[in-house]
Each structure stands twice: as structure tokens, then as C-alpha cells.
Amino acid sequence: MTPRRDDTVEDHLDRAMREDAPRILSVLASRFGDLDLADEAVQDAMVEAARTWPDDGVPPNVGGWLMTTARRRAQDRLRSTRRAQDRLASSATHLEELREAPDVRLTDMIDEPDNDDTADERLRLLLLCCHPALNVDAQVALTLRLIGGLTTPEIAAAFLIPEATLAQRIVRAKGKIRTAGIPLSLPDELTDRLSAVLAVLYLIFNEGYLAHDEAKGSIRTDLVDEAIRLTRLVGRLAPGEPEPAGLLALELFHRSRQASRVDALGDLVLLDDQDRTSWDRHAIAEANRVLAQAMALMRPGPYQVQAMIASHHANAPTAQDTDWLMISSLYAQLDAMVDSSVVRLNRAVAVAMTDGPLAGLEMLGHITDLEDYHLFWATRGELSRRAKRDDDARDAFGRALDLVPNAAERRHLERRLAALG
């Protein structure tokens, strides 16, 4: 990236870590066919940058400098380690290729921030990080570190887990990649693998979005922003696929009302009661635009449908203007696409808005596997209250209170229960 004049060396290092390092890593991992080697080499290059830039100044072409440094480090490591012996034999063709390709070409390739010459390599690495043969925790950790360019301490702090645990998780995941032979390849059928990537990104988003514990706020890397940044990236890397745009729209709709979700005391504010003038109109406008582009591809998917539901809420001038009939039919579509009791729970809420609370309660009666989910009981409490079944409502709110995971939602439920008298 082109350095900006007013930035401190630290700013440049941060940006290099977040923007350039992941791109260089994906190129080197593909070239050498060795993720560990590439990762170590890129980290070496970042250490070298932190050591020399303060005195020597930031190089004019940061990406090129990092690429050259990391590639040299990778070759040094290949030569000097014992395991290099057999690797050199197997990657001899790669090395030949590198020798033939002048530095200029490789460095040019990563000079432009949005240069799509590296798109294939980056997509390969992203698919590797989210390979279904890795457990979901490992997928999240690898994606944030190798694609997002976050450090291990940053990720550990964001997820409130000990740094050693996270570091161990990454080591284990890399071990599995190596021993199980998980490849850096582009599958013929991209859609399924991409949906695993999007699931990881939505998980990261929700981890940030649903974190209401005020004490955590200051130290948490903003996972909401990080998830949105990475979702945009996936959209650029797989431009023919509509679902990344669907997820991006969904995330933007959610974020547009993030500020009004919680009041000054840290209590939850229901959608109906939120101050709609405080919603981020800019984010909503972008989400509308992104969603329209996705839908123009005429290949609906779960994220696009969820984004459409969110768009009906986001674009309704008042709570009374909400088109519940449309939302209810969108939930029916979603229900047909994904087998999820949580979707059916939400569908019951929408149905209760159009056909009355008894119709909603009837749908809830068919959901059998959410007994441990506080929102199932909270919903049942709320619909029972509207149906004037106060005893049922009290019981259900009581069950919800036993299960509620955080203070803000607890206070909310206590208020609902108290209102029943």
C-alpha cells in the first residue's frame, strides 16, 4: 500500500499486518505449498519491519518490501532446517519458478490493494481456514489470524479466552492441516464450501454483536467491524456468488441499529421501542444496495432471505409500518431452505403478528428441541401474555430466567415478568 505521509510508523505496521501480511501469506502458502513455512516467514518479515522501519523509514512500497523479505526468509528457512532436505526435493519446481520470476513481478502483484491477481490464492487460504475437517473454533481462530491479520493476543482478548488456549488451538489446527493433508485448492463446487466460510464470518459477527457485557467493551477488538471487513473481502474474492453479498447486507442492517439496541443503562431495547431516527441511514442505504445486487443474480439463499427480512424492519418508518405478512412469508421460505428450530421460532413470532398469538403458540408447540434456549421460553411467555394466558406467561418467563445467559437480557425478562403482576 502507498504510505500516507501523516501516519506514524506504528500506523504503517498495523496496516501492513492487517492488509498486506494476509495477502502475502496466501501467495507464499500457495507457492511453497506449505502453510507453516509461509506463516513463519511472514511473521519474520513483520518482526523485521518492526525492527528496521522506525530507523530506516517506511519503504515506499510496503507490500513489495514485505513480499521480498518474507520470501527470502522462507527460502532461508527451507535451506537451514533439517526437514528442508526432503521438502527441497518436492518443492524444487516451485523454487525454479521463483528464481525465474523476477522479484518485480511478484512484488507488483501485491502492490495494488485490490489487485485481483492474488484473489485465487486468498480464496484458497480462506477455504482452507474454514475447511469442514477443522472444528469451528479452529476455523474462527485461523480465519481471524491468517485472513484478518489479527494477532493471537488480539483474538484471545476478543473471545475472552486465555492467550495460551488460543495459541494451542491454532497450533493444533495447523497440525491437523499438515497431517490430514487438507489442501490449498479451489473446489469445483464452490457454493457449499463458501457457505462454511460465511457461517464462520457470521459467527464472528454475532460474537461481537451480541456481546452486551459492558466491561468487555473497551478491550474487545471490534468483531462486528472485522466480520464486515472480511465479508466484503469474500464478496470481492467470489464475485459470481450472491450469498456473500447477502451476508454483508444482513450484517449492515444489524449494525445500523447496534447503537439503539441497548439503552444508556445497558438494557436491551426491543425493536418496537427503538428510536428509529438513531438508526444508521448510511449503513441501511448500503445494505439495500448490496442486497439488490445479490438478488439480481437470481440465486436465492439463506443469507439473502435473512437480509430481506432485516430490510423490512430497517426500512419501515415506524414499528406499525412493518410488513409482517411479507416477513412471515420470507420466514416460510427460509424454513424451507434450512432445517433450523431457531428459524421456526422466529417464524412463529412473525405468524403471531399476522394471525394472532394463538397461531404463533400453535407453531411453538411443534418445536421440541429448544427447551434449553431462553428465547424459546421468552417468546412463549410473550405470546402467552398477548393471548391473555397470564399463568402460562409467568411459567414461561420463569423458565427463560433460569436459562438467560447475560445480565441485560435478564433485566429485560424480569421487567416482562413484573409487568404481569
Partner: protein
């Protein structure tokens, strides 16, 4: 890389077509075709179909003590029905080869092989 593919499935007594019937021939034909595909494409190392777990014997050895008992190691609903040892470029290819097997309602456990003395 070399991989072991273990087929786990629920054992149902008297399941599947009886030997000698056209259905049995047809089933065997599909397995033979699959095996031939592995051989023709250089994936084949070995493999076998097993008798039902009722024929299994477990032998526990610890120091000098040897205990022989009737039955498979794990008394689970799913049992090992067969295995393959194959050569594949990477895990994705191993997964593709496993799922190409003419078997249904089955869980394949895919384990990379660390060392084969005959390789």
C-alpha cells in the same frame, strides 16, 4: 498421501440382497466397478469387507495378562463394516473417493496413514 477409510454403519441382520439373487449380483457389480476405478486411477492400496461384528473377538493385552472376550471393541450401534487403504493427493480427494463408494447410510472415518513398511 495414504489414507485409511473405515466404513461405519448400523448393522441390521438379514439386510441386503441374498447371494445368488440378481439384486446381489447388481450390488457386487457396483462394488467391483468402484474397486476397478480405484485400481485404474492408481488409488488402490488395499481393502476388505468384514463379516458382521457378531463374529468379532476382542483381545486385551496388558503386560503378562491377556483377556479374550466375545464381541467388538466398542459396543456401539454403528460397527466397522469394511475398510480401504488408498492413495490420494489430499484430504479433499480422499473425501471424494470415499463418497463415491456404492454405500449409503454410512459414516466414513478417514485417517491419514503415518507409516507403511511396505510403501
Amino acid at each position: 498421501m495414504d489414507y485409511l477409510i473405515i466404513n461405519h454403519s448400523v448393522e441390521v441382520e438379514g439386510e441386503g440382497p441374498a447371494p445368488g439373487t440378481p439384486e446381489f449380483q447388481e450390488m457386487m457389480g457396483r462394488w467391483m466397478a468402484y474397486n476397478q476405478m480405484l485400481i485404474d486411477n492408481g488409488h488402490w492400496i488395499g481393502g476388505a469387507s468384514l463379516t458382521p461384528s457378531a463374529a468379532a473377538t476382542s483381545v486385551a493385552k496388558s503386560g503378562e495378562s491377556v483377556t479374550v472376550t466375545d464381541g467388538p471393541f466398542a459396543e456401539t450401534k454403528e460397527q466397522i463394516g469394511g475398510y480401504y487403504v488408498i492413495k490420494a493427493d489430499d484430504l479433499d480427494e480422499a473425501i471424494r473417493l470415499a463418497t463415491a463408494m456404492p454405500a449409503d447410510d454410512v459414516v466414513f472415518e478417514i485417517r491419514p496413514i503415518a507409516f507403511r513398511p511396505d510403501a
